[in-house]
């Protein structure tokens, strides 16, 4: 019947105890709380309802929810999620569905087994948080959640031991800290597969701030108020001057009279450019923007894998950038480009609707008549911006239908998109092809990590005009109005209007900490979030320990895990088992085993001398030897200086020679 005692008997059918129900309710609440803003309100309502009901039921104030009511509720919950998202898969709908079903599971959980399953679901919930954010604070918060969930798991297994909450949390933290080294080994060495395994719905991720695919007055000034990091850049050599840092993003060519939009993207057939300065090499770590465009210093001259360059020199990724993206490329800061631009494109770049902004159009046309060179027209317009009372402000007055007219001839207060938009329209009216380029300008250098931080507040819009024999030339009308913007950055240009996000403007001690914090985030991005197949190969290659393929990794992984776990185990043996008896006791045991074969058995109650007296009958041939052994044994054990290496050796020799 021995095998009946194997561990397969179920002890999970037991009714769950009161304390453990509360523990699991709290655990779920803790795990789901940070999702409050990611869930529709009614889902949060269901969670609160289910937990409240379960707790009241636990207190005996309410009965269990009847099954006939529960089943329709579950169905309704599913339908509700579908009605909300028109799907039940994908990140947001999947989360809502998981949450609703977990909440309902609470209402029908009576047994110990159900509670364990709920705890497992809570573990699973942690993963969903990482689909929304993978930042350091999220990681810290999720570690805390792991501690709470694991403590709940322990309390479900403590079996009347009545461990205090503090001790539960301490044990749980200890378990997780012990898991850390193994986790790191797994993280570094488990071979990464280039994913995804199955098609992901390319859903729009809400709440991402960033550049937009169109530009109208007020669009960029909204972005300026965000201090979120757009991307970070490490330069291989010298950092270019601040006024050369134009980060090229979406290019707008189509103009509706109010809004600038992108043309359908077409890949560039061939890049013709002449350069006068060496290339700048750098690596960008782009925060997810939920769009296709990548940012590069004007003008990128090397393609990144999985990306294309459009005919207006934008780098476009092949799929939406929903995760951190890291790429290395090179740019030329002085260039001549697009001299051979196609006539069709130039035609689009000079088109504008006639019915809006009549004054601006008239001004543009008159400029074309007054000046004979295009360069002169450009200079004149920039001069107007400089000469007349134009102000660079984040809070321009609202504009109506003929917005450019109102701006140029009325308010004269505007932000970069006002200047770029009106400049481009004036150019087109004067017959010069012009387009808007949006992106970022500048950035903040972090000396503690030797890289540049570009934030959403560095968003900018400028123009490019096309001149015969010179191609596309960058003109930044904002620089004419507010040279500070370009030379020193947005914070200095608008010091009264925006509270500075720049770390350099803070007090030095605090600022230093912030630089370090940003550096930590950058390393986190680089080493943790970006640890993919390529990074893994690079890293293992750099370690130079001969691990360069899939099977090596698995072997190294298994070996390391075995060594660490075996080490833990050895320590446990050493610490938990009572100390082994001294060697001479083992020898004595050996002698007793020898004698037992002869049928001479020592009673547990007998001491060695009594045993000797009893067995050492005159018939026993080894009588003398046995007496010597027992005498020596007692001397080693009890005499003040009887225990010596020599005595032990003698004891062993005597027992060796004992013939029975």
């Amino acid at each position: 019947m021995a095998i009946a005692n194997l561990p397969f008997r179920s002890i999970s059918q037991e009714i769950s105890s009161r304390g453990s129900v509360f523990a699991v309710c709290f655990c779920f609440l803790f795990a789901i709380a940070p999702h409050f803003f990611n869930l529709p309100l009614w889902v949060s309502g269901i969670v609160v309802f289910a937990l409240a009901w379960r707790c009241l039921q636990n207190l005996g104030k309410l009965g269990a929810l009847p099954k006939w009511l529960l089943i329709p509720m579950v169905v309704l919950g599913g339908v509700g999620v579908f009605a909300e998202y028109w799907t039940v898969v994908g990140r947001d709908a999947g989360l809502a569905l998981l949450t609703v079903m977990t909440a309902f599971k609470f209402l029908e959980s009576q047994r110990h087994r159900d509670l364990l399953i709920l705890v497992f679901l809570c573990y699973f919930l942690i993963a969903t948080h990482f689909l929304f954010s993978q930042s350091i604070p999220t990681a810290v918060m999720m570690f805390a959640t792991l501690i709470v969930i694991t403590a709940t798991l322990i309390t479900l297994n403590q079996r009347e031991a009545q461990i205090s909450i503090r001790q539960l949390l301490a044990s749980s933290t200890r378990l997780l800290l012990l898991s850390m080294p193994l986790m790191l080994i797994l993280f570094v060495l488990v071979p990464r597969v280039p994913g995804p395994l199955w098609g992901l719905t390319d859903e729009q991720r809400g709440g991402v701030t960033g550049l937009s695919d169109n530009m109208s007055p007020g669009k960029i000034s909204n972005l300026i108020r965000s201090n979120e990091v757009a991307f970070r850049v490490e330069f291989e050599d010298e950092l270019p001057a601040q006024n050369e840092l134009y980060w090229r993003g979406p290019v707008m060519v189509n103009y509706s009279g109010y809004r600038w939009t992108q043309m359908p993207r077409k890949p560039l057939q061939r890049l013709v450019l002449s350069v006068s300065r060496p290339a700048v090499n750098y690596t960008v770590t782009l925060e997810p923007n939920g769009e296709l465009w990548m940012l590069a210093l004007d003008i990128p001259t090397r393609l990144v894998s999985d990306s294309v360059m459009t005919r207006d020199y934008q780098l476009i990724n092949k799929k939406k950038i929903n995760d951190l993206l890291r790429y290395s490329t090179e740019s030329r800061l002085a260039y001549e480009i697009g001299v051979d631009e196609s006539p069709e494109y130039l035609k689009i770049a000079t088109a504008y609707p006639q019915q809006f902004n009549p004054k601006t159009i008239a001004l543009g046309k008159s400029l074309a008549q007054r000046f004979d060179s295009n360069e002169a027209i450009i200079d004149e317009v920039l001069d107007i911006f400089r000469r007349d009372e134009f102000f660079y402000t984040l809070n321009p007055p609202a504009l109506g239908k003929d917005n450019v007219d109102e701006f140029l001839f009325g308010t004269r207060r505007g932000f970069c998109e006002h200047y770029a938009g009106s400049f481009a329209l004036l150019m087109r009216a004067a017959g010069i092809p012009a387009r808007i380029v949006t992106g970022y300008q500048g950035g903040e250098y972090n000396s503690s990590g030797n890289y540049l931080i570009v934030r959403q507040s560095d968003a900018h819009a400028w123009t490019e005009v096309w001149l015969e024999n010179r191609g596309w030339i960058r003109i930044d009308p904002t620089a004419a109005v507010s040279p500070n913007r370009i030379e020193q950055g947005i914070d200095n240009a608008l010091a009264d209007e925006v509270s500075s996000f720049r770390i350099q403007n803070r007090n030095p001690i605090f600022g230093n900490l912030l630089y370090r914090w940003d550096n930590l985030q950058h390393s986190w991005n680089d080493w943790v979030l970006n640890y993919d197949e390529r990074k893994q190969r690079d890293f293992l290659g750099k370690l130079d320990i001969g691990i360069d393929n899939w099977s090596d990794m698995v072997i190294a992984l298994v070996l390391l895990l075995a060594v660490v776990t075996g080490g833990f185990w050895l320590i446990a043996w050493y610490r938990e088992l009572p100390p082994r008896p001294p060697a001479f006791e083992m020898q004595f045991e050996r002698m007793l085993r020898k004698l037992r074969r002869r049928g001479l058995v020592k009673n547990p109650a007998e001491d060695s001398r009594a045993f000797l007296r009893r067995v050492a009958t005159p018939e026993l041939a080894q009588r003398e030897q046995l007496a010597r052994i027992i005498d020596l044994y007692n001397r080693i054990k009890y005499a003040r200086d009887g225990d010596s290496a020599q005595a032990r050796k003698q004891l062993r020799a005597l027992i060796d020679s004992l013939q029975v």
Binding site: N5, R9, A127, S171, L175, S179, P181, L186, L577
Partner: protein, 335 residues
């Protein structure tokens, strides 16, 4: 559960293996590495399935933190493997000598669990066969007892079945256990028949027998010459002071009526009924402070009285016609 689905030869093989690796003991058994086994629980397997799903999700979303979570939980499982094992490692288990009980009462198996190191042990379960487990915890360097009550449904002497000492602490993903057998007999006396009276017909009365004078006893019987070697406690110092020399006080016990409880005298009822009746007579004779003896067809217990004598009689009754004294303690009445 699994055991039921295993084919008989496989079961027998495992049983033999377990038997040979876990020899029975009279003393305390130390749970060391070679006596401890560990396997995942059903929740352990479920956890593994969840990890697989997490891993696939992490690959699919290329989400580094999801990878990290997967690996963290994998590491947690590995850590709880040896933590669960460690929770039992070094614990000594001892079965305290069980007291005989009467059939129909509960036989109490008292296990003493102890350990000598600084850690605390939680949720150690002790399970006897299919009985519900009893859980104990151990403070550092301490011991604790777990009591398992088994209904004694049949008289006789039995050996206890193997007990499982197990734990799932801390995470419940693994089940570590040791299988222990103790070589201590469980004795179940026959059930005493209620309202049994000492019937005159069963009793052979012996008259006029008084016990000899001894230095132990209840009633003072007189003084006699002191002999060398006798304890000075029994010397009558009063007599010595009166100049009568060293005299020893002697006492005399009660003159007890003595009787025989005789199988042959019983004519009615089955064997078990007779044993029940005789058990009741033994108890009644003992409580009435009579001197009694027992006559069974195959065994005679000479007349006497006192605790030890009572135990001898009851044991003789318990073992009557029980050929195999090494049977396992039966948990269902008929087996």
């Amino acid at each position: 559960m699994l055991s039921l689905s295993l084919p008989a030869p496989v079961r027998r093989y495992f049983d033999n293996w377990f038997e040979s690796h876990n020899p029975p003991s009279r003393e305390s058994i130390l749970l060391h590495n070679r006596r401890l086994y560990i396997l995942p629980t059903r929740f352990g397997y479920l956890f593994a399935v969840m990890l697989l799903f997490l891993f696939l999700a992490a690959i699919n979303y290329l989400n580094s933190m999801a990878f990290m979570l997967t690996f963290m939980l994998t590491a947690l499982a590995i850590v709880s493997l040896w933590q669960t094992h460690k929770n039992l490692l070094g614990v000594s288990v001892k079965l305290l000598v069980p007291r005989p009980v009467f059939c129909g009462e509960y036989c109490e198996l008292k296990f003493e669990l102890s350990h000598t190191n600084q850690s605390r042990r939680f949720a150690i379960g002790i399970q006897y066969a299919e009985q519900p487990p009893v859980y104990v915890k151990l403070e550092p360097q301490s011991s604790n007892t777990a009591v398992i009550k088994l209904p004694a449904r049949r008289r006789g002497q039995f050996r206890p079945a193997g007990v499982t000492v197990f734990t799932r602490y801390p995470t419940g993903l693994f089940h570590a256990w040791g299988w222990l057998r103790f070589d201590l007999p469980l004795l179940v006396y026959p059930r005493p028949l209620k309202n049994a009276r000492l019937q005159q017909s069963l009793i052979e009365q012996f008259d006029g027998q008084t016990s000899t004078s001894t230095i132990e006893g209840d009633d003072f019987a007189g003084l006699r010459e002191h002999r060398v070697g006798e304890s000075l406690r029994h010397v009558s110092w009063k007599a010595y002071a009166q100049g009568k020399g060293l005299l020893t006080k002697t006492f005399q016990g009660h003159a007890r009526p003595s009787l025989w409880i005789d199988w042959q005298q019983l004519t009615h009822g089955s064997q078990e009924d007779k044993l029940s009746f005789m058990t009741a007579l033994v108890l009644s004779a003992e409580s009435e402070e009579q001197k009694y003896g027992l006559r069974l067809p195959n065994k005679v217990v000479e007349q006497g009285y006192g605790k030890v004598h009572k135990h001898q009689c009851l044991k003789a009754l318990a073992l009557f016609n029980q050929s195999d004294t090494a049977r396992e303690f039966p948990l269902d009445g008929d087996s």
